[in-house]
Each structure stands twice: as structure tokens, then as C-alpha cells.
């Protein structure tokens, strides 16, 4: 009798509560849907559902020329569109076997790092907002605004920039841009320290909410395929910018910050430190920025000429016509995988070319996609508020996850 009772007690539990978190939920950073089975507040099972933003980017890209696929890349991770474009251009350049001029490389590096700052401050700020600290959110959006203004100054767009081109960048940056950006980098480390970190770094509640939450060990993180700050928080110094440098990353000095415990707090610290490193990279790039053209000499074969040239110059008109109808000429047959470090992690482009002007297959390895897949591992066994902390810490953008 007694034995029956005890087995009954271990086998039968209280009725589980299944809640559907999302797709419209303030803490899911987009249209992520998590189906959570709860026992009290403890998460027993977490099933992510993605795909609400699926636009078939890969299929679309197969039917577009290499140039016209570029705007699709803006819309992957829409808060760091510059990095995606840079990554795509690097990949296509490597496929074509061309090289962007030095100045363009430095400009791209500057832009990527600006994007990294704006993406990381959004990531940290929305994470903090989810946990309940809302002031940081507004502080960081003030600073992001400055960066977006600078983007607008250079390419006319704030969010979906489409600024880099195959073989360089669309146009040169102005001196005013460089001056303003340099001013920004002067003050930014102080802002990080005095406004972001003092607000939450020493906050007992923030520490309690983040330390020891969502712990994942280095081996496990690698096994799950995590990248970016999400991986580095576990102490793995894997950074594509260091391991396989592209653009001007091999010419600048920077550190790869790593965490120790692999918890939410360490990942947050990594992002904070990366802000400083990005700031450092931008300063170095501005200081070292060489003079020269911003488009490769053979770029007209790959990239649309400027509009005024088209109207006045015969060569350019022909290039424009050919590029629009056929795509870049002389795409060699072959396949290439190029990984770039975008703010969220490793964004990989696997391009298979069949020798035509359109990619035969364009595969996007999106970091957010992999990071969402690790959510059940992080959330199961945790309690409901930790789910929010975990969603924030992997810093996902669903546009990239669903492609």
C-alpha cells in the first residue's frame, strides 16, 4: 500500500499548463512562438516554432542576378543590414575572384563595426527591457539614433542600407561623416561605462536575474553550433574576424572578449566589451583610412554604374544594360562558402555558381536560426521568467532566422 502511494506520487504530477508564448508577444523579439509546457512556473518542455517571417530569400536569390540579390540581404537581420551586405559582397567577390580597393575595405569595416554597435546596444537594451530595466533601452536608442543618422548621411537609408557593392562600396564617405563618427567614438566608451553599465552592472536584481541563468558549457555551445557573443560567453574565442579575416580586419588591432561561465550575464558582458572593441576598430580604421577609389577597377562588370554616368557615358550605359538583363559577366563555375562575423554571430554564404549571372544556389547560414534551436536546451528546467532572459541573451532577429 505504502509503496503504491509513493510510486503514484512520483509518477503522477499536477496537471501541466501549456501556454503559447508568441507569435505576438512583447518578449519574443519578433514573431517567434514558443510552446511552453509548465509545471507551476517550471518549464518542462519548450518547443520553438519559427517561420512566421519566411520570405523565401534563398529561392528568390536563385532567380535574381548577383546584384539584385543584394537588397534581399538587407532584410535578413534588419537591424544590422550593413553587416549582411558586407558579408554578401565579400562572398560574391571571392567567387568572382576580385578584390575591393583598400579604401572600400576600410569603409566596409567601419560600417560593419558601426552596425555591430547599433545591433549590440539594441540586443542588450531589449534584453534589459524584457527583464524590466527600461531606462537602458531609451539611453541606447539615443545612441543608436546617432549611428543611423550617420548611415543616412552616407547612403540615404537608415535601416535597409544596400550600401556595399560587389567590388567596393556605392560611394565614398564624406569628411563630415568621418569627423562626426570620430566624435562619436570619442565619447562612446564613457557612455558605455557611465550610462549603460552603472545602470545595470551593479544592480543586484540584474545580477540575480542573469548570473547562473541559461548556462551552457564551451563544448556544448560548440556542439550546438552557437556563434558570436552567444558562443564567446561560454569562453570560446571563436571569431571569424580573427580566424578568417576579411576586409580590413587583419589590419586592425582588437581583442575578442570571452566569458567564463557561459551564463546570461557573461554573454551580456561579452556584448558590452565588444562595443568597446568595435569602437576601437572604428577609430583605427578612421585613422588609417587610405585614399583612393572605392570601387574595384573591374567593378563595372559586377556593379551598376552611377546614374549620372549612365546618362552621359556610353560604356556605362552598356554595362548597365548588360548587368540588368544578364547579371555580372564571367561568373566562374564553382562553389564557395564564406563566413562573416555579423553582430549576431557567424553569417555564412554558400554560393554555387553554374557560370551564369545568377547564383544557382545561395544558402544563408543564419546565426539566429541556430541560436533559436538552442532555446529548448536553455529553457527546459528553468522557470518562466528565465525563458525571457534566455530569449534576450541569444539576441535573435527573426527576419534572419526565417529568411
Amino acid at each position: 500500500m505504502m509503496k503504491e502511494m509513493t510510486t503514484a506520487a512520483t509518477e503522477l504530477k499536477t496537471k501541466e499548463l501549456t501556454i503559447s508564448m508568441g507569435p505576438q508577444h512583447p518578449a519574443t523579439h519578433g514573431v517567434l512562438r514558443l510552446v511552453l509546457d509548465l509545471d507551476g512556473e517550471t518549464v518542462i518542455k519548450c518547443t520553438p516554432h519559427v517561420g512566421y517571417l519566411h520570405r523565401g530569400t534563398e529561392k528568390l536569390a536563385e532567380n535574381r542576378t548577383y546584384i539584385s540579390a543584394l537588397p534581399l540581404m538587407d532584410r535578413l537581420d534588419y537591424i544590422s543590414s550593413m553587416s549582411n551586405d558586407v558579408g554578401y559582397c565579400v562572398a560574391v567577390e571571392r567567387l568572382f575572384g576580385i578584390e575591393a580597393p583598400e579604401r572600400a575595405k576600410y569603409i566596409r569595416t567601419i560600417m560593419s563595426e558601426m552596425t555591430r554597435i547599433s545591433s549590440h546596444i539594441i540586443g542588450v537594451a531589449t534584453h534589459a527591457l524584457d527583464i524590466g530595466a527600461m531606462t537602458l533601452f531609451l539611453y541606447s536608442f539615443r545612441d543608436r539614433e546617432l549611428l543611423l543618422d550617420l548611415f543616412e548621411m552616407t547612403c540615404g537609408a537608415r535601416l535597409t542600407v544596400s550600401y556595399p557593392r560587389i567590388g567596393g562600396v556605392r560611394n565614398d564617405v564624406s569628411q563630415e561623416f568621418l569627423d562626426k563618427l570620430y566624435d562619436f567614438t570619442e565619447g562612446f566608451p564613457k557612455i558605455i561605462e557611465e550610462q549603460y553599465e552603472t545602470l545595470i552592472d551593479q544592480n543586484r536584481i540584474w545580477l540575480q536575474r542573469t548570473k547562473g541563468i541559461g548556462v551552457i558549457s564551451a563544448e556544448e555551445a560548440i556542439n550546438w553550433g552557437l556563434t558570436g557573443p552567444t558562443l564567446r560567453g561560454s569562453g570560446v574565442p571563436y571569431d571569424v574576424r580573427k580566424y578568417a579575416p576579411y576586409d580590413a580586419y587583419d589590419k586592425v588591432e582588437f581583442d575578442v572578449p570571452v566569458g567564463k561561465n557561459g551564463d546570461v550575464y557573461d554573454r551580456y558582458k561579452c556584448r558590452m566589451e565588444e562595443l568597446r572593441q568595435s569602437n576601437k576598430i572604428i577609430r583605427q580604421c578612421i585613422e588609417k583610412l587610405p585614399a583612393g577609389p572605392v570601387m574595384a577597377p573591374d567593378a563595372p562588370k559586377f556593379t551598376l554604374p552611377p546614374k549620372d554616368k549612365v546618362l552621359s557615358d556610353m560604356e556605362s550605359l552598356i554595362h548597365q544594360f548588360v548587368l540588368i538583363t544578364k547579371g555580372p559577366i564571367a561568373a566562374p563555375e564553382g562553389e564557395i562558402y564564406v563566413a562573416t562575423e555579423v553582430p549576431k554571430g557567424e553569417l555564412g554564404f554558400y554560393i554555387i555558381s553554374d557560370g551564369s549571372g545568377r547564383p544557382y544556389r545561395l544558402r544563408l547560414r543564419a546565426p539566429s536560426f541556430v541560436h533559436v534551436s538552442v532555446l529548448p536546451r536553455l529553457c527546459e528546467g528553468a522557470i518562466l521568467p528565465d525563458v525571457i532572459a534566455n530569449i534576450g541573451t541569444i539576441d535573435i532577429v527573426l527576419g534572419e532566422c526565417d529568411r
Partner: protein
């Protein structure tokens, strides 16, 4: 003669007394509701300026008419009741918190001699009413028949029960020092000291009380029942229009009540410390209500300040804080206070 008779008897007979009481109730409720509408405005302004933005600016100069616009909007919004909700409970739930908090005002002395019901168990009455406010939350959570509201309701009931204990215990020290549960007497008892406020000998109790007060009113960092990032809006996720407004108003009246208790029990209510009053006699001319409101506004500002600064606690951490930190602290305070009182 019982308490009802005593309340009704007086020099001018029943009817006059009843009329006086009604006038007092009307004044207090009216003024409080006005303060509540503008408390929302000040919250948005204060937090706005803390967060380097302006807050409401559109309706009237500096958005001064914003709360009125909000109120009108909430009045005329469609009142949506979920089809699977328990309708009577769903409808009655928002009335309970506003009823409980507004009736708490009855025992709050705003200045010398102005109190609707000067009862001897004033503090106990306040506890009773604040414990009732939990019903509105629990009933809303249950009646909405939504899982998010349900979780919010569960969290809230547990939270309110836990923090009620800490809050009650924290005020025992004040009761011991004042030797009374009557709020006017508590204020008068503070005047016997040079500092004129229990805040100084009872700083520990004040700390416990303020933390518990934040939790009782479901404000940040204890806003778990309505945590917008986890439970969307918690127990009132299904409410709209005027029923939502009742909850909103009740939260702010609750803040005013809690601030008033803090002011009355720890800050000397409408009085100023005798030390200051003696050194600057001119201050004695200032009416008591000014000091009272000033102190209450300071506490309400504290609510906003905390809201703009700290993140939200996790549910288990909240419980741990309540049971493992606040209650032992409050008990220690009681022990120390009684020993000191016994010795002297």
C-alpha cells in the same frame, strides 16, 4: 451604545453628522481621484525626463491635459468580455481593488483633525483593506479564462499574502513605540521626540515597509503579476476600457495609500520635526496638509524613480526576499524595539 451609534451621535444630531461625513467622503475621494489622474501624468513626465525624453507633450501645453484625454479614451473604449469568461466574476473583479483602496482613505488623517473616521484600529483597518485588494487580482486572473491572466493571478495572490506578513510585522515596531493603532495618535506620538518622526529609530522597519509596499502595489521591481514581457499584462490582459481603468486607478490609489501610511507612521504625518519647528518658527504657519502632501509626493516620486531604475525580480527571488530577508528583519526590529521600550 455601540460603535454605529457613536459614529452617528453628536451635538447636531444624526442627520447633520451624516451630511458632514458625506461631504468629507466626497471631498477626499474627489481630490484623491484628481491626484490619481495627475499621478499618471507625473509618472510619465518624471520617467520621461529620467529617460532623456519629454513624456506627453501633445495634449495641452506640456501635455497637461493628457490624463483627461486618457480618461475620456478609456471611458469610451469598447468593453470587451471574453466569451469563455466567468462573466459575473469578470465584471465585479475590477470594482474590488478600487473599492478597497478608496475605503482605506477613510482612516487616513490628512491634517490635524481631518479624518473621515477616526477609529482606534486605523492601522488594522488599512491592513484589512489592502489584503482585500488581492481579491480583485485573483478574481480577474481566474475569471478571464486566459492562461496569462491565470498565471498573473496566481503569482499575485502568493505575492500579496507573503508581503502582507512582512508589511504587518514592520509596522509592529511603530505600534509598540506609539502604543496605539490610531493613525492620528501615531502621528502625535512622534511629536514627543525631538526628531518628530519614527523614521530614525525605526529605519529598519521603514525599509521593510517600503519594500513590502512596492510589492503590495505591484510596482517595479515587484510587478511580476503584470510583467509585460512575460505575462503581457498579467491578470488584466483581457480587460479593456473602463474596467481596465479601474485597475489602473486602484494601483495609483494604492500607491497614495501606501505613501500615506509611510508618511503617517514614519515621517510624522502632517507635522514637522519639533527641532526644525522650534528653530524656524515661521514654518509653524504653514498648514499641515502641505507637509503631508509634500511627504506623500516624495514617496510617490520614489515609486517612479525605482521604476525607472531597476529590473524586475524573478518569482522565486521575490518569494525568497519576502520570506528570508524582510520577515526576519521585521521580526528582529520588533525584538529590538520591545527590548528598548522595556528597558526605558
Amino acid at each position: 451604545m455601540n460603535i454605529l451609534d457613536s459614529a452617528l451621535s453628536g451635538t447636531y444630531g444624526y442627520l447633520f453628522n451624516i451630511a458632514i461625513i458625506f461631504v468629507k467622503i466626497a471631498v477626499v475621494v474627489g481630490v484623491t481621484m484628481l491626484h490619481v489622474t495627475y499621478a499618471t501624468y507625473f509618472e510619465r513626465k518624471v520617467i520621461g525626463h529620467m529617460q532623456i525624453r519629454l513624456g506627453p507633450m501633445r495634449v495641452g501645453p506640456h501635455g497637461i491635459l493628457q490624463p483627461i484625454a486618457d480618461m475620456l479614451k478609456l471611458f469610451f473604449k469598447e468593453d470587451i468580455i471574453p466569451s469563455e469568461a466567468d462573466k459575473p466574476v469578470f465584471k465585479i473583479a475590477p470594482v474590488i481593488p478600487i473599492f478597497a483602496t478608496l475605503s482605506s482613505l477613510a482612516v487616513v488623517p490628512f491634517f490635524e483633525g481631518f479624518v473621515i473616521a477616526d477609529i482606534n484600529i486605523g492601522l488594522l483597518y488599512l491592513f484589512a483593506m489592502s489584503s482585500l485588494a488581492a481579491y480583485g487580482v485573483v478574481m480577474a486572473g481566474w475569471a478571464s479564462n486566459s492562461k496569462y491572466s491565470f498565471l498573473g493571478g496566481l503569482r499575485s495572490s502568493a505575492q500579496v499574502i507573503s508581503y502582507e506578513v512582512a508589511m504587518g510585522l514592520s509596522l509592529v515596531g511603530v505600534m509598540l513605540m506609539a502604543g496605539s493603532l490610531n493613525l492620528s495618535d501615531i502621528v502625535k506620538a512622534q511629536q514627543q521626540y525631538w526628531h518628530g518622526m519614527f523614521l530614525i529609530p525605526q529605519f529598519l522597519a521603514y525599509f521593510v515597509f517600503m519594500v513590502a509596499a512596492f510589492a503590495e502595489t505591484n510596482r517595479t521591481p515587484f510587478d511580476l503579476p503584470e510583467a509585460e514581457s512575460e505575462l503581457v499584462a498579467g491578470y488584466f490582459v483581457e480587460y479593456s476600457g473602463i474596467r481596465f481603468a479601474w485597475y489602473y486607478a486602484a494601483e495609483y490609489v494604492g500607491m497614495i495609500i501606501m505613501s500615506s501610511i509611510a508618511v503617517l507612521c514614519f515621517w510624522g504625518g502632517w507635522t514637522i520635526p519639533p527641532v526644525i519647528a522650534d528653530s524656524i518658527p515661521a514654518l509653524k504657519v504653514v498648514p499641515g496638509i502641505v507637509w503631508f502632501l509634500g511627504k506623500v509626493y516624495f514617496h510617490i516620486f520614489l515609486y517612479y524613480w525605482v521604476r525607472a531604475t531597476v529590473p524586475r525580480y524573478r518569482y522565486d527571488q521575490l518569494m525568497a526576499l519576502g520570506w528570508k530577508v524582510l520577515i526576519p528583519l521585521a521580526l528582529a526590529n520588533i525584538v529590538v524595539t520591545s527590548i528598548v521600550k522595556y528597558m526605558s
